[in-house]
Amino acid sequence: MFVEQFLNGISLGMIYALIAIGFTLIFGVLNLINFAHGEIYMIGAFVAFTFVTIGGLSLPVAFLLSIIVAGFMGVLMERVAFRPLRKSFPEATLLATLGLSIVMKEAATLIWGPETHTISNNAQTMFKLGSVNVSLSQVSIFVVALLFMIGLHLFLTKTYWGMAIRALAQNREAASLMGVNVNLIISVTFAIGSAMGGAAGVLTGSYYGAFYPSMGFLPGLKAFVAMVLGGLTSIPGAVVGGLFLGLSESMASSYLPSGWKDAIAFILLLLVLLIFPQGITKRKEA
């Protein structure tokens, strides 16, 4: 059982990590929390669901398309809720993203209805590694999330835009004096962060076979915890935080009564804030 729960935890943790990276990127550049990030995750999942059920596309194609849509949603969100308020006090943006998250959830309820949908022929393929059952969707979550993380790392360290994002995170004014187009780079950051959030949504939706309008709330909250665990601005920290959280949840539900599963994340959050206010990884700028 330990190995299987470990795999369950890794899958869950990779999902949290993907969402937490989006949080972290945006926090790094703007020092703001985007509360509508969980809704991007939900919209990404529903877009893929629609492409598969109505468009008749295969899941991988729908996955790619919904990542693109989620990226655009992120850019749009930045234009609506962040840019007009950038010179205002930070709470204004927080409230704007909270409002946006409510609007997006209700809009999804109007479009797709409040009930749970499923993709009927979702990947239930199983295979055995020794005596351990592994499902294809668990493997795909792991591989896809890992590819995203490697891709993001290369993007941030090797490309001009990546360097510009890091420059912006260090010092926005200095970066803009060096000729970095601040608005453009912020848009790019939102596009990348949201695309990863959307990707996480599609992966979870098809893994659990469930698409519903409030699906973004809890993972969004958990990813926020993962981000705090990882020290707010560190991307490797967010990944470690996500994995740590996913593993603790699945281990908690196997060795404690299952009702404790969701409490674990928040107990961890409290402990970390009390004991390591800087996060479990050493704080450094993204």
Partner: protein, 381 residues
């Protein structure tokens, strides 16, 4: 100048209030005295939407039949349906709305025990019958004089399912997953008690909160480790379909047994292959040979082009009972005389069996063993 603005604001406010009051009184036209309203509080949207949909269709069918037969005391019965989303807060709001509407003579609902229990004090305080077609929590009917149900409680269904699992199917090691609300807890308790009485063993009991989301993989992996023969689900159809699918991924290859709450086409649609072979119990089966069942199934098929499920049958009988009670309550039925008449009904020949209420408003009903085979509900043989 400043005072002038103040006056203008007060004037405007007064105007708004006046319009509001007039607007409200416009909502209660007086010319509708020629009909009785029956309230229906049920989840018409959300994860339980198909249950509410069955309720609404069945009650509408019954009321149409009454209309075709000339109404009661020369008056028609009309349905006032409201969507509770199976949310106890909404159910309580709806209860207050029905109570405040003097034309509502009785109410059918709520679907879930949790919502029915939340609404019960309001119906009781206002002396309005709440007849739930499906609330099987043992404590529901004892909430007051105006609470009725026409379904057997979990105290009956739990042991019945335990007998099905342990004796009929020969599965001794039982694992349980249940939703942590009023209904789920009593469903689990009564089933577990029955299993032990029949000589079986409960090897795992796992619960989840309605707000937990849809990830059952770690619960299922944990259960797999206890080597059960069968998995009991105290859940509604959406979660049951997801658990069935995720159990395949978790490599938990055991049969599933569940309560009558799983008797829904949505379960077949959401669950697909994964719910094949699922066992359940029901108070109604459309291929029953009794004449009233055949008439009901034919009429329902003709009107809606689908076969009625247990929830439609339960609601159809609930509506039938209310109609009987209004008829028996004389020329000028009131909320209270309808309640008294309901309690006096003897052996009402419904499609889910004969109904007689005991002094609490409870009933005893027979149940039948079902199984999902080739994507359809069938009687287990």
């Amino acid at each position: 100048m400043k005072q002038g603005i103040g006056k203008a604001v007060i004037f405007l406010l007064a105007l708004v209030l006046l319009v509001g009051v007039v607007g409200c009184s416009g909502d209660n036209p007086k010319e509708t005295e020629d009909k009785y309203l029956i309230g229906l509080s049920a989840p018409l949207t959300g994860d339980y939407a198909q249950y509410g949909d069955s309720f609404k269709k069945a009650v509408e069918l019954k009321l149409e039949e009454v209309k075709a037969a000339g109404g009661i005391n020369g008056k028609n019965l009309e349905l006032l349906a409201m969507d509770s989303k199976a949310d106890p807060k909404e159910a309580a709001n709806i209860a207050q709305k029905f109570a405040d509407n003097s034309q509502v003579i009785a109410e059918i609902g709520e679907f879930t025990s949790t919502a029915a229990l939340a609404a019960a004090p309001i119906y009781e305080r206002n002396g309005l019958v709440q007849l739930s077609p499906t609330s099987s929590h043992p404590d529901f009917a004892t909430q007051g004089k105006y609470m009725f149900r026409n379904i057997a409680t979990q105290e009956v269904e739990g042991p019945f399912l335990a007998d099905y699992a342990v004796n009929t199917l020969g599965k001794k090691r039982v694992a349980i997953i249940y939703i942590q609300n009023d209904w789920g807890i009593v469903a689990k308790d009564n089933f577990a008690k029955g299993v032990e009485e029949h000589g079986g063993e409960v090897v795992a009991e796992e619960k989840y909160l309605p707000t937990d989301g849809k990830d059952f993989s770690s619960i299922l992996t944990k259960i797999k480790n206890t080597n059960p023969d069968i998995l009991f689900l105290g859940t509604m159809y959406t979660d049951a379909a997801l658990i069935s699918q995720q159990r395949v991924k978790a490599g938990l290859n055991v049969d599933i047994i569940g309560t009558g709450s799983l008797y829904s086409d949505k379960l077949l649609e959401l669950g697909g292959e994964a719910v094949e072979g699922l066992y359940l119990a029901s108070s109604f089966f459309p291929e029953d040979s009794a004449p009233q069942v055949k008439n009901f199934v034919d009429a329902y098929k003709a009107k809606y082009d689908e076969v009625p499920n247990m929830f439609a049958a339960q609601a159809y009988d609930a509506a039938g009972l209310i109609v009987e009670a209004i008829k028996a309550a004389g020329d000028n039925p009131s909320r209270q005389s309808v309640r008294d008449a309901l309690l006096n009904i003897q052996d009402y020949p419904g499609v889910t069996g004969k109904t007689t209420f005991d002094e609490n408003g409870d009933v005893v009903k027979d149940m039948v063993n079902l199984v999902i085979k080739d994507g359809l509900y069938r009687v287990f043989e």
